[in-house]
């Protein structure tokens, strides 16, 4: 039915099957939209946030999707600036994932503010001292860059490409993509860092506060570093999931191996930096504020030392070792496990830097604050997941997202024929 829109030389599932799954995820999306409208029209009383938990699930989701969406800027940097040419075969998908992640983050932010119609005040009345201001500016600009990077992909659709104007536009946009990749990397460095700074500058919150260089706390650099490490991990993970669902090889192994190796070294160096940061904070920064290290990990039903072990050892040290060793990367189950843990590590780190910060009591006569999100919060957090899946489905079906797919398929057919 829609075969004229499908890229040449590749096979896709039937239109009926495609629509069926689109409807399923569309229903989930609709559920999220209902929750979103409830929050917009009835207010944030629809959530389980409270005056102790001004920041909660949504801020975590924002930070997490931006971290795992970091694959777009880092892969772009490697491809266009550092000349890792093999990565041209995965950059489209990295851009798509980045586009989904950043558009989701902006949507969640729009739901998360108490006066959504005043959202523009952040630009109009900008406070240059606030990390959130830097986040807003860089995030919006980088989303524009991602949109510019995604547009040529749309223009490459078989039917759109027939129009000479769009064909030339797409061609020319590809030609200047290095400029956008460099701009994206520059902007990402700042907004990923500012997101780390959001927690790190909170000198009233000893669990979050970090010293640093000039105006930037160490978390500024750690967040950027972890996004550069975990973003490619997430890109590899989603590529693997897409391959499993489509039952096809979409990206050649050497491309995955290269990206995995770079991600592994980034993750390994990040983990070392994170360990040093944690050690310094635990022995110098927190005690100076009157806190023992274990104050932050005891006397509450959830946050034990396990979460630190999970973040640093299980999601940092272990995947680093797997990804930097050739043997580790060679075995598919180890590679996939490692990239999963790497992406999870960024999510755990963001959780800790948002929700545990809110949970830890600072006044001596208060106790731990616990929180469980309302269904509206959960639905609006799942909304971007459904939206992301739908956009990947549509993009995969109608756009040449994976440049190697056709030749891999042809080789497969040729080998069968032989």
């Amino acid at each position: 039915m829609d075969s004229a829109l499908i890229p040449e030389g590749v096979k896709r599932c039937s239109f009926g099957k495609f629509i069926f799954w689109l409807v399923i995820f569309g229903a989930v999306l609709l559920w999220g939209i209902v929750a979103m409208l409830l929050c917009w029209f009835k207010g944030l009383n629809q959530t389980n946030m409270n005056d102790a938990y001004g920041f909660a699930l949504w801020i975590w989701a924002d930070l997490a999707v931006i971290a795992v969406g970091g694959g777009a800027f880092f892969t772009g940097l490697l491809r266009y600036i550092f000349g890792k040419d093999e990565l041209k075969n995965i950059i489209n998908f990295a851009v798509l994932i980045g586009f989904i992640c950043y558009s989701s983050a902006l949507l969640i932010l729009a739901i998360d503010i108490g006066q959504p119609l005043r959202g523009w005040f952040i630009f109009w009345h900008a406070n240059v001292h606030s990390m959130l201001t830097e986040v807003a500016f860089c995030l919006s600009c980088y989303f524009a860059v991602l949109t510019i990077e995604y547009i040529p992909l749309i223009l490459e659709n078989r039917q759109i490409d027939r129009v000479p104007f769009f064909h030339n536009l797409s061609h020319n946009m590809h030609g200047v993509m290095a400029i956008f990749a460099a701009t994206g990397a520059f902007l990402s460095f700042f907004h990923q860092g500012s997101l780390g700074g959001v927690a790190g500058v909170l000198f009233g919150r000893p669990f979050a506060f970090r010293e640093g260089v000039f105006i930037w706390p160490w978390t500024f650099f750690l967040f950027t570093w972890s996004a550069a490490a975990c973003g490619p991990c997430f890109t590899i993970l989603i590529t693997w999931i897409t391959e499993k669902i489509t039952k096809k090889k979409l990206v050649r192994k050497n491309v995955i191996m290269l990206l995995a190796k770079i991600a592994g070294w980034m993750l390994a160096t990040y983990t070392i930096a994170k360990i040093i940061d944690t050690w310094y904070w635990a022995t110098v920064t927190a005690p100076a504020a009157g806190h023992n290290f274990m104050d932050f990990y005891s006397n509450n039903p959830l946050y034990g030392i396990w979460i630190l072990v999970l973040e640093i050892v299980i999601c940092g040290v272990i995947p680093s070792i797997i990804l930097i060793t050739k043997t580790g990367r060679r075995y598919s189950f180890l590679l996939v496990g490692a990239v999963f843990l790497g992406a999870l590590g960024a999510c755990v780190n963001r959780w800790v830097m948002v929700l545990q910060v809110m949970a830890v009591p600072v006044l001596t006569f208060e106790s731990w604050f616990m929180y469980f999100p309302s269904w509206q919060e959960i639905a609006t957090t799942i909304l971007p997941v459904a939206y992301g899946i739908m956009l990947i489905m549509i993009s995969y079906r109608y756009l040449p997202i994976f440049p190697q797919e056709r030749e891999i398929e042809e080789e497969k057919h040729a080998s069968i024929f032989v």
Binding site: G54, R118, G204, P206, A289, F365
Partner: protein
């Protein structure tokens, strides 16, 4: 008037709360709510959802009878000065909806500019900032009793204690009409100060050596306002928030409850 303001001496309004005098009656809380049009709901049992610009905490020394002891601690906004006005909440607000006045030392909140990101709440270690989770709904007829000097807040914005700033404005207006630039100590007092039946709350200008707050707390301005009175302390002093609310207590455990200390550390 703006020109005249520039010529007035910078104030640093602050408070001293004598915890040995506080009985925990809650008159300060009630007075604050009435004075500042603080909204409330039918069910106020969840204190994490109620707006209490002034909140009285109950502290215990954790010991059993006969050594058991309690203390009530009223907690308004601390109007932190931080480092040169970089209060924890002020520096983080992305829309400049909260500001530190170097003229009065008061941390303001501009309700019509706040867009409800709640970053300031995350930054405040005292939980002195409150979010309007609901629209303010007053019982029938109560709108007529609202103070015309304080704007009620809308859903979706953050609010907090203003040290009854409208009273400062009214007092300054009166002073200007009378041709004065400076206020007498009793001309500007917060509602909680006036409501306290035990005289536990004292309010005034910490820069004015003649004011009771300065004489009692003896702030050392060269060292971030640290109190020189041995019985005076500030909440979470070592975080560097530099608050302008001082507490007094002759009891060591109460003073120690004001801050965190690592094991075996003396405080």
């Amino acid at each position: 008037m703006k020109e005249q303001h520039k010529h007035t001496k910078a104030k640093k309004y602050g408070m001293v709360i004598d915890l040995d005098k506080c009985t925990g009656c809650g008159a300060c809380m009630a007075a604050c709510m009435a004075e500042n049009n603080v909204s409330f709901k039918k069910d106020e049992s969840d204190k994490l959802l109620s707006i209490t610009w002034m909140r009285v905490y109950k502290l215990t020394n954790g010991k059993k009878f006969p050594e058991a002891d309690i203390c009530y601690l009223p907690r308004p906004c601390m109007h932190c000065e931080g480092d040169h006005g970089h209060a924890p909440c002020v520096s983080v607000c992305p829309a400049t909806a909260t500001d530190y006045s170097h003229e009065t030392g008061i941390v303001s909140q501009i309700y019509t500019r706040c867009f409800g990101c709640r970053y300031c709440m995350a930054a405040c270690p005292y939980h002195a900032r409150y979010f309007n989770w609901w629209d303010p709904v007053w019982p029938d007829g109560m709108e007529k009793y609202l103070s015309p000097n304080v704007s009620p807040r809308m859903r979706g914005v953050v609010e907090k204690c203003s040290f009854c700033f409208h009273r400062y404005q009214l007092a300054m207006d009166k002073a200007y009409i009378e041709g004065r630039r400076e206020l007498e100590e009793d001309e500007y007092q917060t509602s909680c100060t006036q409501a306290c039946p035990a005289d536990a709350i004292i309010f005034g200008d910490l820069n004015n050596p003649g004011h009771a707050v300065t004489q009692i707390a003896k702030p050392d301005h060269k060292h971030g306002g640290r109190p020189m009175n041995p019985n005076a302390f500030r909440l979470l002093e070592r975080l560097g928030t530099n608050p302008k609310v001082y507490y007094l207590s002759s009891r060591r455990w109460v003073r120690r409850a004001g801050d965190n200390y690592i094991k075996d550390e003396r405080g």
